[in-house]
Amino acid sequence: MTRAGLSALWSFWRRNPLQLFTLVAGLALATALWSGVQALNAQARASYDAAAAVLGEGRYDQLIPAAGETVAQDSYLALRRAGWQVSPVLEGPLQARQARVRLVGIDPLTAPGGVGPMTRSEAATLPAFLSEGVVFAHPGIAEALAGTLSQRVVADPGLAPDTAITDIGVAQRLLGRDDLSRLILAEDQPIGRPDLSDVAPGLIRRASQQASDIGQLTDSFHLNLTAFGLLSFAVGIFIVHGAIGLAFEQRRAMIRTLRTLGLSLRRLMVLMGLELALIALVAGGIGVALGYVLAAGLLPDVAATLEGLYGAQVAGGLQLDPVWWLSGLGIALLGAVLAGAGAFWKIIRMPVLATGARAWAVATGRGRGCQGAAALALLGLAGLGTLLGGGLIAGFASLACLLLGAALALPLVLDRLLALGEAFARGVRTEWFLADTRQQLPGLSLALMALLLAMAANIGVSTMVSSFRMTFTGFLDQRLFAELYVEAEDTTQGAAVADFVQDRGATVLPIQWVDTHIAGQAAEVYGTRVAPAYVENWRFIAQDGTDSAVWDRVADGAAAIINEQLARRADLWPGDPLPLAADRTLPIAGVVGDYGNPIGQVVIGEGLFERLFPAAAPERFGLVTDTPAALRAALQDDLGLAAGQITDQAALKQFSLGVFERTFTVTAALNVLTLAVAGFAILMSLLTLAAMRVPQLAPAWALGLTRASLGRLEVLRALVLAALTGLVALPLGLALAWLLLAVINVEAFGWRLPMFLFPGDYAVLGGFALLAALLAALWPAWRLARTPPSELLKVFANDA
């Protein structure tokens, strides 16, 4: 009986290969998008973790300088002699051929467990590391380092990109330094130690969870990707749900026969469950493979985005983790269960001898009511979440509620619109067309929901990206007002450049900053030489006094300007006191929009900066001049600067815009993919509906509509439905854009962007959606037009 049951179940798929294809393809696509995104996220996280683990940043508290970037070696010794179990770390840039390497020196003897590559490497022993000078390097830079250094270089894929680790003594020698960057604090500390402030007053303790600022910042990006992955998965599951539901409906008769032949319900359930599991595993396998291809294709852009936006480094090669494969298969199974649960439930409750009515496809009045109520509840939740919620998660939850609610409401809205059309319809053919379209809505609604989500996402994201782009371009114009930017090799050359340029009548604007923490946030403090150009170009979001008054106070060292990120995160606004150092507080005079980086910035006057951070000296300069070409030539010829040290404004803008463009490549790619999946959903819905529609079309044919005109009407129907869906998608997409700009962006990046509308873009998108619907409808329509008249006649034969 089991064998007969299996054979009967399988025969259905043999007779309906298209439906099997829909099922497998839908599940595979859903799995591919989901697992592809997961692979990207995992790869990026692994890269941060490698960096953090090797340096102990994730696990251990650290002692960092309260100001500046250096810890005296004597502070380390004083702490050790006082019993503090700390381990020194020195970090600095090292040029190896074309590669700029982040060289990290550690002391493996005092480093807490797990820090440093020696603990897991057999390539070099601890004695060798200590005495012979071994440099562990990320494979990407190992060769360049080996050609530059006399030390033995060992490639270690576990390290973060562009990072090399060596003994602290070797690092000091290679970097030409005798100090340290920070100290790792071991978990176990002896009892009875003196206070940190008594032993090393210049150091502050940074808790381990704060240590990885990169992790915090990039979380938002990964959440973004994950949300897209989930959206794609949901769209895929819509397809699968439709395919499974259809198959179960069509197999009612077979199920009835099997059960009357004596197959128990329990065994039938087990067999169908196995069948579904098998299909899910095959589809999952395909999906995971596709996901890998997708991830590998997008990884370079994700890596570029993360580096451009956050300075976080991600290894370029995708590493396959068995856990990832398994989770891909798991998500395929989960998707199949989600999509098939309803169908199973119906079969369990179905009387043994029930007839094969198409009950599933006809939304009853009660079902419609439930759907409407659910849609309203979700939309209400979305509104509530936006009003009351805080944080990125709440923002995304609101977004999810909005999209789901709108998707659930779509069939009802379309039904109302078509009913409205019927009321105004003239002519039998039009009335029949509208009525028939309404009749088909339940069968098409899942595909249309998918289209709605894809279009709304597209509108929302493109609005956000374009708004961002306009704001960002304006911001670049404000900020990059100097004609030339020079990066000196060292402070000595920096001073020479400043003198040289001043003598030629150009204005020199030193660009100098220190990395620090302000109000618990990672921040950069800039020491700025206030010039008229700043007053003319910078625009404040909020300010205390006129533009020139604000800048005058900054120049006097009496006030500070902060960026929007810091203002929003620390809730600091003009007039509030800004804690700049342990013993120094400045009032805030203005807040500026800052779309160039995610972390906080503080601008103070040059004089005050030099007093507060005497160790910092400017190596970069902005040069305001009327003759940039001549000045550039003079700098190169007379002062011997390399061409690469001088950047002109246009090139810098180009570079910044390039970073920005790459940032959204990933989003754009996922957008296109979701739209494609939605088109596929329409195609599959139309194809599966086509067979069932013959009984409804046969009378129209018998009444004189030719098969060709029936086919044309099919295409028209798809276009009308797509157009109506597009009408609903537009407001939904704009709502989505608003959520992204005003809620998600503020939470993720700390800036709020003005929203611009781009009707032209939306029209193009509408055109694409219609094109997708047209393409999806063409084949089913062509098949309909080619239906043999005998098929149509058979309908009446059965009736008789």
Partner: protein
């Protein structure tokens, strides 16, 4: 004796590639100085480090008594290990230091370890005035006869004073101590006559204690033969005032190499050749996943010694980078007394 030698090296070599058991000590000692017979010690200079030798330690153990006769054990050990001969300033120094400290009670065993690079001032030993130091731990005095001793750990600390009441004692042949049939040897002397008093800081609070302590000084470049994989080392103080240092090296073929020194109350010594002493396990304890003998029968027929040596706390496991067993013992039988036992190489 040879004790810690191996420990020391093992700790340094405790990386996957090099964890070859205790044979790590048996590796060739290229470029290092080698101990030679008939040593002529030069004090106080020889209380300081000998950077041309590969390994060296300052090893102090003490049997203590607190209020109401409650017994405690204490350990303070500083190891020097050279990656290459010679001393240099800065991180490039080939000298590496590490240290173990422990306090044992009948119920508990507290221990911790420290690591330091030589050449930067984080650890080191100065002969005159004597100071051995790593981080905040110190064993320092005006001289080796009069010292302060401190150590701190996450859950214990101690602050002790040491006064020597007898002469230095030289093991083997005038301080030249042979460790195998193949001639591996070390320089080895002790100060076993310390009176010690001070305060232990334990989770339950401060405990005033006093008792007797024993300092071992040893340095070498290749103290063990390649086929020796562990040892059992005893330092016993009998109520008669006599003392006994004895060790046996367990060789991979199942045989042992034993050696020792009989110390009269006045410090007069008699070297005990291989085979003079026999040590046999009588009871074992499973601790940290290993089975370790924690009660021994020790026989020295030449001196009429036939005693049982039992651990005060059989769970005195030093779970440091290279783990071993070390703790205070009680001696009973033909002679009564106290002492310390160290055992390595038990898997």
């Amino acid at each position: 004796m040879t004790r810690k030698v191996i420990l020391f090296c093992l700790a340094l070599l405790a990386t996957p590639a090099l964890a070859q058991g205790f044979a790590g000590m048996g590796t060739e000692a290229e470029g290092f100085a080698a101990p030679a017979p008939d040593p002529a010690f030069d004090f106080p200079a020889d209380h300081g480090p000998h950077p041309d030798y590969r390994i060296e330690w300052w090893y102090l153990t003490a049997n203590l008594e607190g209020p109401e006769g409650r017994r405690y054990g204490l350990q303070w050990t500083l190891f020097r290990s050279a990656l290459a001969p010679g001393a240099r300033e800065g991180w490039d120094s080939p000298q590496v230091w590490f240290a173990h400290a422990a306090v044992t009670t009948p119920e508990a065993h507290f221990f911790t370890e420290r690591f330091a690079r030589g050449g930067i001032g984080q650890a080191g030993v100065r002969a005159d005035p004597f100071e051995a130091r790593i981080d905040d731990w110190r064993m320092a005095g005006p001289s080796l006869d009069d010292m302060e001793l401190t150590a701190t750990g996450p859950d214990f600390a101690y602050d002790m004073n040491l006064q020597a009441e007898g002469p230095l004692v030289f093991h083997g042949d005038g301080g030249y101590s042979v460790k195998s049939d193949q001639g591996q040897a070390s320089y080895y002397y002790s100060q076993p006559f310390y009176r010690i008093a001070g305060t232990l800081t334990l989770p339950e609070g401060g405990v005033p204690v006093s008792g007797a302590a024993w300092l071992d000084r040893e340095w070498s470049s290749q103290p063990l033969a390649a086929d020796q994989d562990g040892w059992d080392w005893f330092s016993l103080s009998f109520e008669s005032g006599a003392k006994l240092m004895a060790f046996q090296l367990r060789q991979s073929d199942g045989s042992t190499y034993s050696s020792g020194t009989w110390i009269e109350p006045d410090g007069t010594t008699t070297a005990l050749p291989d085979g003079a002493i026999s040590a046999a396990p009588q009871a074992r304890t499973e601790v940290a996943g290993r089975t370790v003998p924690t009660r021994w029968r020790l026989d020295l027929p030449a001196r009429g010694v036939d005693v049982t040596v039992a651990a005060l706390n059989p769970r005195a496991w030093m779970g440091v980078s290279v783990p071993y067993w070390e703790g205070p013992v009680t001696v009973s039988g033909s002679h009564d007394g106290t002492g310390y036992l160290e055992m390595t190489g038990y898997e």
